[in-house]
Subunit: 395 residues, 2 copies
């Protein structure tokens, strides 16, 4: 079950130097408490909630340089930098993107990222303690991308920022960025919508549901009531993560990285032990995930993904997008079969019909959905260049 | 969890009339017992084994009209016809293909199909009783496609057929047909290799392994020792089947059949009950499968798929194919992302370099991997036409 390969080969080599001048260095996670009632799309509500968040760089005097980065399904508020001086600690999930001189240049911009509601990394979610003193579990209300965004508006208000220079996100983060521009059009100048979709497809829903079924099938899940128990639904969550993970990689990148290589042995073993390296890789990804993620949060966040359809509440996608005032950078990747370029065009085409300022790039890349994290040079050029261009327009 | 939609919409309407002149009608399943020891690729062996099989049509006097059809992962020997007069009974899994005047024309050809070893539909597999009087469970040896084929040679010998006019199969059936032509080149005149691959890809292995992990994660699996117990690993097997099922359909066909339609209700419920129709469909497919399939067989057969690489034991794919004497019909489908046309070309290209008689068709079709079962008109033209042409060459 142990993954013996070199995972880092999958990703460009990251700097792990703590005092790298291009690193944001050691950062803190903050927690913003809100006593307000958060009314949700479902008709449910949260009587008060917490958002965990981090910031990098400095807000300028006229508060015009704030960029909100929105994270994906398994992400959190820790985009960049380190929490400690431990040289073994891995940096935030998009450290390549955020720092001095990087695509989100902390010398110029003030970067904010908060953990979504429903999450398990500091924001209020199903593993949080409900007002009755016990964890919510399945009593937590079902949430949507619009609800995540609504919660973020409280944080942006708390930071006393009226208008965000940009909201950026890959995957589920892109959905949030788009939803901001529809629900709060006057508060966002630029949307960076990366490897995402304005509407979950049938296949997207199908993959999410199979992951949830894997969790439901784990008896330790116990209808969501497992907090404080000895056993958690790790086996089910690991299978769910493996299903997700395979959708993040392209067939080609799997082939290039693992092929039919054996798991450290020379001859086929013909047993049910790990035979091929790709199997060991999946086990590693699956079980590593259980150390940092809550199974119920996985259920809630994948449901939010399923529900995502930007037209929801507005009629058609065209009607929804008619509300937007932002400029758009849309990026898709040729080998991304989770959120395809066809799905990106479902956003680009109506935006163009609406004469919105939209720049669309379909990037040739082999890494599948993960390309947005892996293709650092291309992304730096596209995202960094786009932000610089838009920045010049308002200065 | 109940699927309320109309499943049949997914498939062209089948004739369910028992006395349809184009149906093979009521058929029997036979069991051939072999006392011989079957030596396996793994070094393991089976001391005697049984093959369940069916035949349709009549063997001609010079035994030149026999066609072996090989089934896929979840198939069995029941290709066509009915077991009873019950008008509710569904016909065999490829009834559209086998019968008087159909692509495998039982007025001309003698059709044979046997359940693979490792299976659970009458042939010896992990649910069979071992020589010690108890079910094999995980004591059953790991098997390969080559072993399935070797077992089939005993049946073909028993039927006193030297040379098969054709061996045909879709998906895993195509692997068996190809393996026959490499391991027993003088015994097969024509190979019909449909929606298949000469080598499981990394992604193929990854999907299979996730399915197995779902079964392992089910505590009722109990390391394969569940026969005779009250609870079987149905939950895990259902998840495995759902994972498999999604790879059989294209994104487009999922979108066309289900879109974002709700499961019988009009407004989003925002609960963890079945929200979208596609979810209900997957549940139905998953749980229906547990009524007819054994979880251990699923493990063994997916392992056989993983191991499949026609070059195995011969060096390169070119060296393996150099052994072949058959003519080849190779069919792939444009929307099949499980076994892609790229994979089909991994067979076609070296066959052409070897100057073998190979006819390759990449069929434009939207149904994904399932196209080989669904695109009946196209398949009838291609397969029926090919067989007729080859038949004329030897008469």
């Amino acid at each position: 079950m142990t993954y013996e390969g070199n995972l880092r080969r999958l990703l460009p080599r990251r700097s792990v130097r703590m005092h790298d001048p291009r690193s944001v260095g050691v950062v803190d996670r903050y927690h913003a408490q809100f006593d307000e009632t958060l009314h949700l799309r479902s008709g449910g509500k949260l009587e008060g909630f917490t958002l965990a968040y981090e910031t990098y760089g400095a807000l300028n005097a006229d508060k015009s340089n704030a960029i909100l980065i929105c994270h994906a399904l398994s992400g959190d508020s820790h985009v960049a930098g380190y929490y400690t001086d431990d040289p073994e600690e891995k940096p935030g999930w998009w450290d390549e993107a955020v720092g001095p001189g990087k695509m989100f240049d902390t010398d110029k911009y003030f970067i904010i990222c908060s953990n979504v509601i429903g999450g398990c990394r500091g924001s209020t979610g199903p593993s949080s303690i409900a007002p009755d003193g016990k964890p919510y579990g399945l009593r937590f209300p079902v949430i949507t991308i619009a609800d995540m965004v609504k919660a973020q508006t409280y944080l942006i208000d708390r930071l006393e920022i009226d208008t965000l220079f940009a909201i950026a996100g890959g995957s589920m983060g892109g959905m949030q960025a788009l939803q901001w521009s529809v629900d709060y059009p006057e508060r966002v100048r630029n949307v960076l919508f990366i490897a995402s979709t304005p509407r979950s497809s049938t296949q997207n829903i199908a993959f999410n549901e199979i992951g949830r079924q894997a969790i439901y099938a784990d008896p330790h899940w116990n209808h969501g009531d497992y907090y404080g128990r000895k056993e958690k639904p790790d086996a089910g969550l690991a299978v769910a993560r493996m299903i997700g993970h395979i959708t993040y990689m392209s067939e080609q990148s799997l082939e290039q990285k693992f092929g039919r290589e054996l798991q450290g042995h020379r001859e086929l073993k013909y047993t049910f032990e790990t035979e091929f390296k790709v199997e060991g890789y999946l086990h590693y990804q699956g079980f590593k995930f259980t150390e940092r993620f809550d199974a119920n949060s996985y259920l809630y966040i994948t449901k939010a993904l399923d529900y995502y359809d930007v037209s929801d509440g507005y009629g058609t996608i065209y009607d929804a997008l008619r509300r937007t005032q932002a400029n758009f950078l849309v990026v898709s990747f040729s080998s991304d079969w989770l959120y395809t370029d066809k799905q990106a065009r479902e956003l680009v085409d109506p935006l163009r019909r609406l004469k919105r300022d939209v720049e669309y790039h379909r990037v040739e890349a082999t890494f599948g959905h993960d390309s947005f994290l892996v293709e650092v040079d291309t992304m730096t050029e596209l995202v960094g260049g786009y932000l610089a261009k838009q920045w010049r327009r308002i200065r």
